[in-house]
């Protein structure tokens, strides 16, 4: 019986997941990103994405196995794949997505040892259009969901080995949990919530073990060490290993370079910083390129154009610019001396921390200058301009060099040092606000002098340093070791994530809309086949009902226990089984859902799917409880038939709803559902569904 049901579910899964997998034969939704990123692993080009690399590495691998040579451009959604082999990547993702069904089945089985609970859980994942649609395309969600549900399965399996502590299966499932956790985090950072779930579970287990007075404390310590090893140490190593592969594989310069620091870029073949050389120290008279050290910061730039009338003083513009250009070059000179010549024989003077300096823009020979006029966009900051003629300016050109955590009089070094430039008279720091200037500023970014000296964006470093009288050292001297690159990659990802803020007034998906399935997401909207990501409303709404039922049951049972009311042992066993499984699943749901309420980041509908995994499994358990206990209320004669009827009704309702909404997943070809002649017309149960 068990195997029959499991087998049937497997077959149904394979059938639904692979049916019409090659349709639509054009790029759907975010495939344009992840397909492209996967391709970069094949042609070894460095790129930047706000998510960790594992998911994209897997996509790259699937493509590679299918013989994809990463030549397709993945330009925008709707582009036809034509002859490029995209099926490998799709099939890989679909397999990972398909595994969710058996994994949920097995997880619930291990939690309750009830075949019907496991079957219902499997079916509600199997028949959900959201799960199906999301897991058929080249996206990060199939691997993410796979790793999350695998972690849960492994940890439940491990928990069931608790009577055989330190046996082989015990170790196996413990380390499998660790490995799967790494998988989820390394696909997307939201995978970290399942780590918390497993962590709570581990703490609860340890608390149990500690309470067992027949064992010495050292036994608990042993358990603790085993978990620390398999759930902390081993995953950390594995996680770093993934990044190591990521950084090793992507060694060619590519679109991601600009997000990283100068030192990081020296690693990338094809980047102009690769194998370049430059003097180590900065001396007066050097020709410098200054880069803003904030993530994605540009080069300090000026050009032969004045600020227009009405925007502060009518002096030469100073901006930041992200491209290499002759206008990024500045001479550094002492505040009271002209620029020393490169061929003079005067002793070389190094630039030191705390020095008063001027910077002279090489092409226009104007000095970097600031004065008490409001900056063009950020009106609370001061304007920064190029001022003076042939290098002669006034006292407002003087800046003090302050090296970040530098010793007094320490000489300034290329790349290695980060510094601030403090305006001597006004006591403000040279900074960039990253706000784009209007047309007159060629849409470059605003440079200001910020009176708040703690401005985090006011940090600069010397990227290029030319001075023939000092010996050049190779840039490889600045190379970062793996750990530094690992940490920098994380800093860049986090700041990238934090930067994904919705613009003012823009309509975004909010967490409260998700569980009620308020609004979906178009995967493919153009001509021809239309795909719309939307949950099966029957499953989603009943998930909510069952969750409410669980909470009520929990409250009622707690109060009854408290009041000492005794239920029949049969009833009690049934309740215990349902409640203990639901408890953990409910915590899992909370952990994967509630944190989104506090996120300021831009959110999407598909962020709900990890939580949906838990609520669907929970529904399985609750349905099982209901079909077992409702017939108990009936006279014994019709119990059996009532049971079968209930099961029949539920299962057929699920299958019918799946059939009804199936075109959402497999492609709608008729017009919008607002028109009465559309095949989807009757299915628009909520006005917010846009198909």
């Amino acid at each position: 019986m068990w195997w029959t049901l499991f087998g049937l579910i497997l077959i149904a899964t394979a059938a639904t997941r692979f049916y019409k997998l090659d349709q639509p034969d054009h790029i759907c939704w975010d495939e344009t990103h992840f397909g492209k990123f996967g391709g970069y692993y094949i042609n070894r080009t460095f790129f930047f994405d706000v998510h960790p690399p594992l998911g994209k590495m897997l996509i790259g691998l699937f493509g590679y196995l299918d013989g994809y040579n990463a030549t397709f451009a993945f330009e925008k959604p709707g582009d036809k794949y034509e002859d490029y082999p995209y099926m490998g990547m799709r099939a890989g993702c679909a397999i990972m997505g398909a595994l969710l069904v058996p994994l949920s089945f097995l997880t619930v089985w291990e939690m309750t040892f009830s075949l019907s609970a496991a079957t219902f859980a499997g079916i509600s994942i199997l028949l959900d259009h959201g799960m199906l649609t999301l897991n058929r395309y080249i996206l990060l969600d199939p691997p993410l969901l796979f790793f999350i549900s695998a972690s849960v399965y492994a940890t439940v399996k491990f928990h069931n080995q608790r009577d055989r502590a330190f046996s082989f299966p015990w170790w196996f499932w413990l380390s499998a949990t660790g490995a799967m956790l790494v998988g989820s985090v390394a696909v997307k950072f939201v995978g970290v919530f399942v780590v918390f779930l497993v962590g709570f579970r581990a703490i609860a287990d340890l608390w149990e073990i500690l309470g067992d007075l027949s064992r010495p404390v050292s036994y608990t310590v042993k358990h603790f060490m085993a978990r620390a090893l398999c759930l902390i140490a081993f995953p950390v190593v594995l996680y770093m290993g993934i990044f190591y592969i990521h950084l090793q594989v992507l060694y060619l310069s590519g679109p991601g370079d600009g997000y990283f620091s100068s030192a990081f870029q020296t690693h990338l073949e094809g980047n102009f910083l690769h194998n370049a050389s430059t003097p180590r120290e900065v001396a007066y008279g050097s020709l410098l390129t200054l880069k803003n050290s904030v993530t994605g910061g540009g080069y300090l730039h000026s050009h032969m154009h004045l600020y227009p009338a009405g925007v502060g003083a009518k002096q030469q513009q100073v901006t930041t610019y992200s491209h290499k250009d002759g206008n990024n070059r500045w001479f550094i000179k002492k505040f009271n001396k002209p620029t020393p010549l490169w061929n003079s024989s005067d002793p070389i003077e190094l630039v030191r921390n705390g020095d008063l300096i001027r910077l002279e823009h090489r092409p226009t020979r104007r000095n970097l200058h600031s004065h008490k006029e409001p900056a063009p966009v950020s009106r609370k900051h001061y304007q920064v301009t190029g001022y003076g003629e042939n290098g002669t300016g006034d006292a407002n050109d003087v800046w003090r060099l302050v090296i970040e955590s530098g010793a007094e009089n320490e000489p300034l070094e290329t790349m290695r040092h980060k510094f601030k430039l403090v305006h001597y008279l006004q006591n403000c720091v040279l900074s960039t606000t990253k706000k784009t200037l209007p047309k007159w500023g060629y849409e470059q970014q605003e440079v200001t002098c910020n009176p708040n000296l703690r401005d985090g964006a006011a940090v600069w470093n010397v990227e290029d340093n030319r001075f023939p009288r000092l010996p050049n050292v190779s840039f490889s001297a600045y190379k970062l070791n793996f750990l530094q690159r690992f940490l920098e990659a994380h800093a860049v990802m986090f700041s990238g994530n934090a930067g994904l803020k919705p613009k003012d007034g823009e309509l975004t998906s909010r967490p409260w809309m998700w569980p009620i399935n308020l609004r979906g997401q178009f995967f493919s909207a153009g001509e021809g086949v239309k795909i719309y990501l939307l949950g099966n409303p029957i499953i989603w709404w009943s998930n909510l009902v069952f969750m409410g039922f669980y909470l009520t049951l929990f409250a009622v049972k707690s109060i009854r226990d408290r009041r000492g009311i005794i239920s029949s042992p049969q009833q009690l066993a049934l309740q215990e089984r349902a409640l203990s499984a639901c408890g953990w699943l409910y915590i899992g749901w909370l952990l994967h859902y509630v944190p989104f309420w506090g996120m300021g980041r831009i959110l999407y509908f598909h962020h709900y799917f990890p939580a949906l995994l838990f609520s669907s499994m929970m529904s399985g358990v609750v349905i099982d409880y209901l079909v077992e206990s409702i017939p108990e209320l009936l006279p014994s004669g019709i119990r059996n038939s009532a049971y079968h009827m209930l099961v029949g009704v539920i299962v057929s309702a699920l299958f019918y709803s799946f059939y009804l909404f199936a075109p959402l997943t497999y492609g709608m070809s008729s017009g919008p559902s607002t028109e009465p002649n559309s095949t989807m017309h009757g299915m628009r149960w909520l006005e917010t569904w846009e198909f």
């Binding site: 500690l210 003012d504 109060i559 408290r562 309420w597 607002t674 917010t688 846009e690």
Partner: protein, 712 residues
């Protein structure tokens, strides 16, 4: 009493100095002034604290004539500074006896209770905050009173004959006053909700333990207890909260500076302001109505057009229709006027019988100044390429026909009826040819569109951004310049029934606006700080600086107190974990009595601290040091409690009297250290002066403290 005396002395010392606006007095003082003038204002915090300030001001003879323009400007004689500042000063002083009693209630000795009072008394941050017209002292006063009442209530619940005390006068008194005080805290600032939750948690916990777990009580009795608590902690707070807003709304009946944050109907219900504009304007929108259309939800703006076309090509190389721009403009402007007409009529003057427009009918909108029709077509909108462009139709003779008919959908016709009413009807304009809705996209147009808001045609009809309402409204009187029949028309004006909004309607609207509109715009304020920094007092806030010297007020805690409290927090948590682990192994290191006290302390103080501190990690808006003060209050109490517990442990471990004396000596040294630091930073708390630069720099113990040095 001694402590209270000192508290009063410190809190009231030089209360009217500096005689100028300090920090947020700018806002709170202004609001208090607006109360005197009964002028409506909008603030995202609830009104109770401001009402108290205003009451004090009223008693002090404040007329509300002073203009609070910027921090640092001097008050003139019309502002009763002393009276207004005495509200926070008094509540701030009352804190000290309150914490004293709380500690006693938690079964700590008088010495410990006095120590807690001492910590509160000599913390510079609490002193500074209590010295000016700020909300935190009032909030803390209510929160602490509430906690005290709840603790008193618990004491009754837990006493030997709880049964006898049930429903007694004292029982009800503590329960109700606890709930009321906690709600008051909530009505001062919304963060008071955490104090309320703490009270709720404590009462709920006791109910679970003592009532539900008490099997000698019958079902009926349990139910009665549940009802009593439900009444006290849900119904009473609701009444208090609504009552506070009732006073708020019934006091503020005049229109004021923040009206535009509210809906048109709300504004129309205020004296003056919008209601003076809309007075006498006709109610029903008809063929020939001249209207301004206000975007009804979110940021206020009005449908607008002007004599400029969309650029032929946008920056991203997309093309446009090059027809006249339609935008949403945030200011009142002559270009916001539109004339509503029927598609099949050409005359515009309104004539009897009135041709009323109702739900589902089709209309055209003619822009008043340029005379062009509101139009939309299948061209991508300028800033939101996925939406459809909306323009005023210009015939460029490029076979682009006018598609300028719109269908009126009134969304609230259940309440208002099918006929389109000015102000009240919430209207969607649906483009007849393409079924898109006229919508506000939230994006700004670039320079060519004068940075006004973009208006688009949106396929997604059912969303708040598509709803508009008529704000100003008049009937077109003359067909053209020559034809003036004004006098005839005026007789046809429908007398406006004054818009009366019931209290509940106003109340709910205000609640919604307060919850969803954050009117703060101080993202890059100099003195913001993050929750982690509060633990170690990384940054203060500059409140005021004297124009003559370096004398200044800087909100900064007593660093000695703050650090020891942070350490105490760590020690308490470690001890707690230690005891729990040991007890799990059935090892009981301390007496049951001591453990019970230790545990109760955790239930009240540690949980209180966590409730008031943790949420700040998940909020998105700008945070300042003074947000930490409620959490700090619990932390200081915990610190005092821990001192007694450590003293108990010393006595437990060491038998000798000598160690006890050592312990007391250490505490005394610690206290004198606190006094010294307090004294050292006193000038910054009061803004005593004059000070020179070196004196200021002398106080700069941490690199990150940004004092202002602007004079030598």
């Amino acid at each position: 009493m001694l402590l209270f005396g000192v508290a009063l002395a410190t809190r009231f010392y030089a209360l009217d100095q500096p005689n100028s606006i300090v920090f947020d007095e700018l806002h709170y003082g202004r609001y208090a002034g607006l109360y005197q003038k009964q002028t409506f204002f909008f603030d995202s915090h609830p009104p109770l604290g401001k009402q108290l300030l205003a009451l004090a001001g009223y008693l002090g003879g404040f007329q509300g004539d002073f203009k609070f323009d910027k921090i640092g400007s001097s008050y003139n004689a019309s502002v009763p500074v002393f009276a207004m500042r005495s509200v926070p000063a008094l509540t701030g002083s009352l804190l000290i006896p309150l914490v004293y009693m709380i500690m006693l209630q938690l079964n700590y000795s008088q010495w410990t209770a006095a120590l807690a009072g001492f910590l509160f008394l000599f913390d510079n941050a609490l002193l500074t905050q209590s010295h000016y017209m700020l909300m935190e002292p009032i909030l803390l006063f209510f929160a602490m009173s509430g906690v005290l009442c709840v603790l008193k209530f618990r004491a009754l619940e837990r006493s030997g004959n709880a049964q006898a005390h049930s429903y007694s006068l004292r029982w009800w008194g503590w329960l109700l006053s606890g709930a009321i005080f906690l709600t008051c805290a909530l009505c001062v600032k919304y963060v008071g909700v955490y104090s309320y939750l703490l009270g709720l948690a404590l009462v709920g916990h006791d109910f679970w333990e003592k009532v539900l777990g008490n099997l000698s009580l019958s079902k009926k009795q349990v139910f009665g207890h549940a009802c009593a608590r439900f009444f006290a902690f849900f119904m009473v707070p609701l009444m208090v909260y609504v009552g506070v807003f009732y006073i708020h709304l019934s006091t503020l009946v005049n229109a004021g500076p923040h009206d535009s944050a509210m809906s048109s109907a709300f504004q129309a219900s205020l004296e003056g302001g919008l209601s003076s504009i809309v007075r006498g304007q006709p109610l029903e929108v008809v063929h020939g109505s001249q209207v301004t259309l206000r975007h009804a939800h979110g940021s206020p703006c009005w449908l607008h057009s002007h004599a400029a076309n969309y650029p032929v090509k946008y920056a991203d190389k997309r093309g446009s229709s090059h027809q006249q721009q339609v935008t949403c403009y945030v200011a009142k402007d002559i270009n916001n006027w539109w004339i509503i007409k029927r598609p099949n009529r050409t005359d515009l003057a309104v004539a009897a019988p009135l041709d009323r427009i109702s739900h589902g009918e089709e209309v055209q909108l003619v822009h008043g100044i340029t005379g062009r029709n509101l139009n939309s077509h299948n061209v991508a909108a300028p800033a939101s390429p996925t939406k459809q462009e909306v323009s005023c139709y210009v015939d460029h003779n490029v076979s682009m026909p006018a598609q300028d008919v719109w269908r009126v959908e009134i969304t609230n016709r259940e309440e208002i009826g099918d006929v389109w009413h000015a102000l009240e009807s919430m209207v969607r304009l649906i483009h007849v040819n393409t079924s898109v809705a006229l919508a506000f996209s939230g994006r700004l147009l670039p320079e060519w569109g004068h940075n006004q808001h973009e208006i688009v045609g949106d396929v997604m009809v059912n969303q708040p951004n598509t709803i508009f309402n008529v704000e100003e409204h008049r009937y077109t009187r003359n067909e053209d310049e020559k034809d003036r029949q004004l006098e005839l028309m005026t007789t046809d004006f429908i007398p406006l029934e004054p818009v009366v909004m019931g209290f509940w309607e106003k109340f709910f609207e205000l609640q919604i606006r307060m919850l969803f509109i954050s009117n703060e715009n101080v993202q890059n304020h100099m003195y913001t700080s993050s929750p982690w920094e509060w633990l170690v007092l990384t940054r203060g806030i500059a409140y005021w600086v004297s124009p003559e010297s370096n004398a200044q007020i800087h909100l900064l805690g007593n660093i000695f107190v703050w650090y020891s409290a942070t350490v105490a927090l760590g020690v308490y948590c470690s001890l707690l974990i230690f005891y729990l682990l040991r007890q799990r192994r059935q090892c009981y290191d301390i007496h049951e009595e001591a453990w019970n006290q230790f545990r109760t302390t955790g239930e009240v103080l540690l949980v209180g601290y966590v409730f008031h501190f943790l949420p700040y990690f998940f909020v998105d808006h700008t945070l300042f040091l003074h947000h930490y003060l409620p959490a700090l209050a619990f932390k200081l109490l915990l610190n005092a409690a821990l001192v007694e517990h450590l003293y108990y442990l010393t006595r437990l471990v060491f038998a000798k009297q000598f160690f006890n004396w050592m312990c007391i000596l250490i505490v005394l040294t610690w206290m004198s250290g606190i006094l010294m630091v307090f004294n050292k930073f006193l000038p910054l708390s009061y803004g005593l002066g004059p000070m020179n630069a070196s004196q200021i720099l002398d106080l700069k113990l941490r690199e990150t403290w940004d004092f202002i040095v602007h004079k030598p």
